[in-house]
């Protein structure tokens, strides 16, 4: 029954969001819906999703192919470098890009002596949002493609060649169709990321749903408008998820096959162009942000900024994120145990329902809790408890997935064996179940912790006044253009999250066999 409570926690704010949107009256709601503004936002947001996706695929497909199937030197190193941009939150990526490629950014500074007075403003607006979101989300597609290309059955390509079809024809008619699951899965991740992104679009000033909702709520104090827009964003998100599910549902399962090492073909004269391409990608999405953060960070320390205040913000981030991690893991357990050990229709749908947070932009989750709290839970409004609750709702799916694989590590037959050997149930739980399940649960907690550390929009809306996390500090200084002040908290945030992200997600996703599937599930 605790499972239903978890579901209630996830579903209530979402339902209330629609109630709240309807409250201002259907007339008002419909007039907002049918306004040109909403149509324009839908076009802008969808357009951004598609263009960011195009950039992500254009980068990810050739990179993944070269890394797996060619004789490129140092393939493993390249693979890690290409996956690493995953560690930058969108707002960090955006502000480092603006400070580097901005009209009077670093690049202009270097080009100044050559007579370049101003760079074109491509880093703002649609082009900027496209490049930042595409170049920092492509690792999702890249990691899925690397895994898919590795497991391609070489006999399929050879069959095609033996049937008289050349290299290019084989790639188009046999290889690409086998990669569809990876494309669909990766594309959905990129699109959901883009739909829910608030940090990057607010810094490069491209108006999408998230930014409009935030402005309606913060700037215009028009909560009905914010709620109405949020419902559209939810519907748009669900539409994308439905589209992916529809496409993926039509795929035929691949035949089981023996494992064999992928065949690598020599790059030949393409060697240098390939290295140049990969080098450019790594420069844009890894070297630029790292360089900017290190440069500004060192300079900030040099001119006497202390770590004192940033340290407090780091502590605040760690505190709320840790709380969210613990609560999420505890709340995830009942529905997971129910659906794994006692599968059935209800168990299935309750667990499914708990995944809702994954589909909801953080801003929407935050907003929903604000509405609910201001109306019914006044005592909770602007408390850390509410912030932690929102985190839990948003990141519960990660804890659920980890719980699921953790429980799979402890099949009931082991408990039965222990009972059979004469241990009472509690003893069995302590000596058999818990040790087997613990690593998986810790992993789930760690993932919730890492993503909560980076969370921005819900934090902005729900935090008690005066409460700053690393994320809010970076965002507020970056939007004011004080990059030197954004660099130190960025540095701390990356210092805390980069290594665990590499160990928990990137390394196993690039690794062989066993851990890969689980790691790819963790990309979410």
């Amino acid at each position: 029954m605790v499972s239903w409570a978890t579901l209630l926690l996830v579903a209530t704010p979402l339902i209330y969001l629609f109630v709240r949107a309807a409250e201002a009256g259907w007339q008002r709601y419909l007039s907002v819906m049918w306004s040109e503004r909403v149509a324009e936002l839908a076009v802008r947001t969808t357009g951004l999703c598609l263009s960011a996706l195009a950039v992500a695929i254009a980068v990810a497909l050739p990179s993944a192919w070269v890394v797996v199937r060619s004789d490129l030197p140092k393939r493993r190193l390249w693979a890690v470098l290409l996956a690493l941009p995953l560690v930058f939150p969108s707002y960090v990526a955006a502000f480092t890009w603006v400070s580097f490629f901005g009209p009077r950014g670093y690049l202009q500074g270097w080009l100044g002596p050559l007579g370049v007075e101003r760079l074109p403003e491509f880093v703002y607006g649609f082009s900027g949002a496209t490049l930042v979101l595409g170049l920092f989300t492509y690792p999702y597609v890249f990691l899925l493609l690397v895994a898919a290309i590795r497991t391609l059955d070489p006999a399929l390509e050879e069959s095609s060649r033996a049937l008289g079809v050349g290299r290019a024809g084989t790639f188009l008619s046999v290889v690409l169709p086998q990669l569809r699951p990876a494309f669909y899965g990766g594309s959905l991740l990129v699109v959901l990321y883009t739909l829910s992104d608030f940090g990057a679009v607010s810094i490069v000033r491209f108006n999408t749903f998230t930014l409009s909702i935030y402005n309606a709520y913060r700037g215009l104090f028009d909560r009905s408008l914010a709620a109405a827009l949020a419902t559209v964003l939810v519907v748009l998100t669900l539409a994308w998820i439905g589209l992916e599910a529809g496409l993926a549902g039509r795929l035929r399962p691949a035949q089981e096959r023996r494992s064999s090492a992928p065949r690598r073909s020599p790059l030949g004269r393409w060697r240098w162009p390939a290295m140049a391409f990969l080098g450019t990608v790594v420069a844009l999405s890894l070297v630029v942000p790292t360089g900017v953060i290190v440069f500004w960070g060192v300079r900030a320390l040099w001119i006497g900024n202390t770590l004192g205040r940033v340290g407090l913000e780091a502590l605040a981030s760690v505190g709320v994120s840790l709380a969210a991690a613990v609560v999420a893991v505890l709340l995830a357990l009942p529905p997971v145990i129910w659906s794994v050990r006692y599968p059935g229709r209800w168990a299935f749908w309750v667990e499914r329902g708990c995944h809702a947070g994954y589909a909801l932009p953080g801003l929407v989750v935050g907003l929903a809790w604000v509405f609910l709290a201001t109306r019914y839970l006044g005592w909770a409004y602007q408390t850390l408890g509410l912030l932690v609750t929102a985190y839990v709702v948003r990141f519960l799916p990660q804890a659920l997935a980890a719980g699921r694989s953790a429980l799979a590590a402890a099949p009931p037959v082991l408990e039965e064996a222990a009972r059979d050997l004469g241990s009472p149930p509690l003893e069995v739980f302590r000596t058999v179940t818990l040790p087997l399940v613990r690593p998986g649960l810790l992993m789930g907690g760690a993932l919730v912790f890492l993503t909560a550390m980076k969370e921005l929009p819900a934090t902005l809306i729900l935090r008690p006044s005066g409460f700053e996390t690393l994320a809010t500090r970076i965002w507020s200084t970056a939007t004011e253009g004080i990059y030197s002040e954004a660099a130190l908290p960025s540095f701390l945030l990356l210092a805390v999250s980069a290594v665990p992200l590499y160990l928990l997600v990137i390394r196993p996703a690039l690794g062989e066999r066993r851990g890969r599937r689980a790691a790819i599930g963790r990309l979410r």
Partner: protein, 353 residues
């Protein structure tokens, strides 16, 4: 058999390198038109590398491959697989999972005007007309292999290569699919080169067999020749469940625990090949005495493992009904006829076994 057919596939002094090893080491081979040629050998013997070199997936380091007089590889030529007109059937069929049976089969004839008739004809040939709309995951293992065969046959390749096509089928199905495939290839009039590690498959299917080990061909001949008279110890161990028994050679006769057999080998230590079906349990007075150690019942026949008194243990195959209890004292005799005799392996050779 008709008059000697011409050699369709000619392989001369072919060598293929895999890493540091010569997977195929100066192999020469002729496959005649309409023949079913089987290459048999243990895994890692180079048979698959040889097949892949013929298909165009592995460039040879030396030697030539000619098909119907046309140079496929060697003398500076290396045709890519799609230009060779060689069909290939893979171990698991390698059907394209995203295409229906019909579109799988049509894949190699997509540009031909008569593609629909051709697809219909080969599906008919393999007995799967009416399966055109199904997807590979909706087929059984045997059906999948027949579709793979139809797909490879559709472009009417000059030569069909089969890479362990029955290895992943379960035992009961394997026998049936083998016979079906053989019949289909006969009907299609195709020339086939099949590789397998399964000697039963090799002997049962082939018109001609080549036994391969460590990159070289040890013996080539009809299945009967290979089974009855393996040229060397190596071949005798790859083909048939032969048991090698020590013997003493003197004056052109090899003396073994069950009797003697003529040989042309010089005097000294030797090995004689005894197959379980050449041995039988006989009444007292005949043959050599021994004690039954184990008994395995196979339905149509059974095998006794008999430890000869003061000698080796031998497997003896006999018909059901002709049984002895474990521990019973029995007599073993060998059927009349000459037996293959080999010189005793030198230290080096036996270490390699």
């Amino acid at each position: 058999m008709s008059a000697p057919a011409k050699a369709l596939l000619e392989i001369d002094e072919l060598s293929v390198r895999r890493g540091d090893v010569m997977a195929v080491d100066q192999v020469s081979l002729r496959v005649e038109e309409r023949a079913f040629f089987v290459l048999v050998g243990p895994s890692g013997c180079g048979k698959t590398s040889l097949l892949r070199a013929v298909a165009g997936f592995e460039p040879p380091v030396a030697g030539t491959v000619r098909l119907d007089g046309r140079m496929l590889a060697g003398e500076g030529v290396f045709l890519p697989p799609e230009k060779r007109a060689v069909g290939m059937v893979f171990q698991d069929g390698a059907l394209f999972p995203h295409l229906t049976v019909e579109r799988n089969v049509a894949y190699g004839v997509a540009r031909r005007p008569d593609r629909n008739e051709r697809v219909g004809a080969v599906l008919d040939l393999v007995g799967l007309s009416g399966y055109g709309g199904r997807y590979p995951d909706e087929l059984s293992g045997g059906e999948r292999q027949r579709v793979a065969l139809a797909r490879a046959l559709a472009p009417s390749p000059a030569l069909l290569l089969l890479d362990e096509p029955f290895a992943n089928l379960d035992a009961a199905l394997r026998q049936r699919v083998r016979l079906e495939v053989k019949a289909i290839l006969d009907r299609a009039g195709a020339t086939a080169l099949l590789v397998t590690h399964d000697q039963e498959e090799a002997l049962g299917l082939a018109d001609r067999v080549a036994v391969m080990a460590a990159g070289r061909i040890l013996q080539e001949g009809t299945p009967q020749e290979i089974y009855r008279a393996p040229l060397s110890l190596g071949v005798s161990q790859i083909v048939g469940d032969g048991q090698l028994v020590e013997c003493r050679i003197a004056d052109g006769r090899a003396r073994h625990p069950l009797g003697e057999t003529p040989t042309t080998l010089p005097d000294g230590e030797g090995r004689v090949l005894l197959r379980p079906e050449q041995l039988r349990l006989v009444g007292p007075g005949e043959g050599a005495a021994g004690r039954v150690l184990q008994r395995s019942f196979y339905g149509h026949d059974l095998v006794h493992l008999v430890e000869l008194e003061g000698g080796p243990s031998l497997a003896v195959r006999s018909l059901a009904g002709d049984e002895a209890a474990i521990g019973e004292r029995v007599f073993v005799a060998v059927a009349p006829g000459d037996l293959p005799v080999y010189p005793a392996p030198s230290g080096e050779e036996s270490a390699a076994q």
